[in-house]
């Protein structure tokens, strides 16, 4: 039985000087290697939850422990994000003046990986995502699906233990979206990485091992 990689207890996140409750006493446990989908309407708190898990934002109350890190501590979690988390956004957010390979190398720049290994590692991942012919191209020359695959490569390059994907198919057509989901599923299986995917589409959510429904900052259903 796998151990919990994420443990959240009574998590509260407030905005607008406490007038808006984004997360309301939320409790959640996720095991290492699980594929979790989070669904819910707009403004339900699913993206806020994802930001808390990736230490992009900090909760006001409660406890949140991810991959052994206490994310309620008042400190910089850059190292945690670099080592444990791979982010995939709805918009690819690639840097336009860098080549595909260079974009993938960005998370490795401040690690102790040599330049040569950096290039090798980035190109290997791009090859596994069928992007070997695009390595030296700039993002503007790629299709939407290709750009998102580059973003996936960037998220995977530091071998994170958790991938946080915020509506990764939201900006893609259904056919391209399916390709991306297929890629994510394969990675999840091959790497035994914990995959947490935020979506508002039920058919995407159903691909996960477990679906968590969030409403008004609380988990209303987990199946």
């Amino acid at each position: 039985m796998n151990k919990n990689i994420i443990e959240i207890k009574n998590l509260i996140k407030l905005y607008d000087d406490g007038n808006t409750i984004a997360l309301d006493n939320l409790n959640l446990e996720i095991k290492k290697g699980e594929f979790i989908s989070i669904i819910g309407p707009s403004g339900s708190g699913k993206s806020t939850l994802l930001n808390m898990l990736g230490a992009l934002d900090q909760a006001d109350e409660g406890s949140i422990n991810v991959a052994g890190y206490d994310l309620m501590e008042k400190k910089d979690f850059s190292h945690f994000r670099s080592k444990e988390i791979g982010f995939i956004f709805q918009l690819h957010n690639l840097i336009p003046n860098l080549t595909v390979s260079e974009n993938v190398q960005i998370p490795m720049i401040h690690t102790y990986i040599s330049d040569e290994d950096m290039v090798k590692r980035a190109n290997n991942i791009l090859e596994s995502l069928n992007l070997s012919s695009k390595i030296n191209q700039f993002p503007t020359k790629l299709s939407g699906g290709e750009r998102q695959r580059v973003a996936i490569a960037r998220a995977l390059v530091n071998h994170p233990s958790i991938i946080l994907a915020d509506e990764p198919t939201g900006a893609l057509d259904s056919k391209t979206g399916d390709v991306i989901l297929d890629v994510l599923k394969k990675i999840h299986k091959a790497e035994n990485v914990t995959l947490i995917l935020v979506t508002h589409e039920t058919y995407v959510a159903d691909m996960a091992d477990r679906t968590i429904e969030v409403r008004d900052g609380q988990i209303t259903n987990s199946k």
Binding site: N51, L56, D57, S82, N93, I95, N97, V119
Partner: protein, 398 residues
Amino acid sequence: MKYRNLILKNIFRNKARSSLAMIGIAIGIATILGLGLLTDGLSTSTEQALTAGAADFSVVSASSNGQGGGPGGFGGSQQLINETTVNKIAQISGVESVAGILRSSISDDSTNSTNNTDQQPSSSNSGQPSMTMPATVLGMDSKNLEMYDVKVTNGSTYSSANEVIIGKTAAESQNKTIGDTVTISNETFKIVGIYETGETMQDNGIIMSLSTLQNLTNNTGKVSSVLVKTADSSIANKTADTIESTYSDLSTSTSLSGIDRMNSGMDIIKSAVWGISILAIFIGGIIVVITMIKSVSERTREIGVLKAVGWTKKWVMVMIIGESLILALIASIVGILVGVGVVEILSLSNMLQFIQPTYSLTLFIKALGIGLLMGVIGGLYPAYRASRLAPTEALRYE
């Protein structure tokens, strides 16, 4: 990919904006360097002109009333110094050259000459009107004229006992010119040259050889003052002190008004140059700040991504400052080249006839340093802003 490669790529991603910023900084640096080259050149040229051969100070007898020595000293009772003392002063450490001067006062009225120097209308034999004689007759060796700031502007200097040169003011007021004669103490002298010192009072006199005036005034072996030029102007005061402490009967006067005025004038020019330079730095700095703020603003989402993938605040800050610094470095090099080029063109086209630009490593280092400082200071605020961006807000930025 190396961190520095990312910085370099970021600088040139918006070529138009970066070029504009570089032009702004380059103009600032070119201004600073160009003005620096010219003011240093002006300072050197002026100093050379003023101190080329001039004495640093004069020595007079301590019991004189203090007016017998340097420029501006006229008349008054004076105690004379033995010429042997002149030779002794020449032996003192730091003294490069010395010149003994004998000064003789004469009355303005040609018919009532003083007991020292009698004078007669010089051109009585040539039919010229009766003249009012110059107030001062100086005796000094012709090779020492430069030490007294005397320039023969017309004719030549005296080479025999019966030749003299006359000051420009005296020549004009007495209607004398080269070839005319003057009579002093019943001795007739031929005017062979007209001199100028730049001071009207000094130019209202006659200069002849030292031995001639000594004989004329029965002061053989005596001088009124000794002009002293040191090997280095910076030790003039120290050398003067040494002379005063060695010879209690002598006193020195180091007030060389020309150099003082030059220094004062140069201080004003340098202040103005600094004022312009500070303005150029300010404008350059503002351009860097605006450029970098715009650059950071355009890349807000990217900075959010960098933070999401694990970049620390420090790395983001160093990246932005690095971009600003390299931008300023390139612009500074361009500015230096432009500054030197413009000054050289002006120099070659004879628009700077009296100023020879002075190139010094210090000036180039200063220009480069100011450029880099502009880059660091200009990049500091945008870098701070970028580093403080909350990742979640940055990622939502449209």
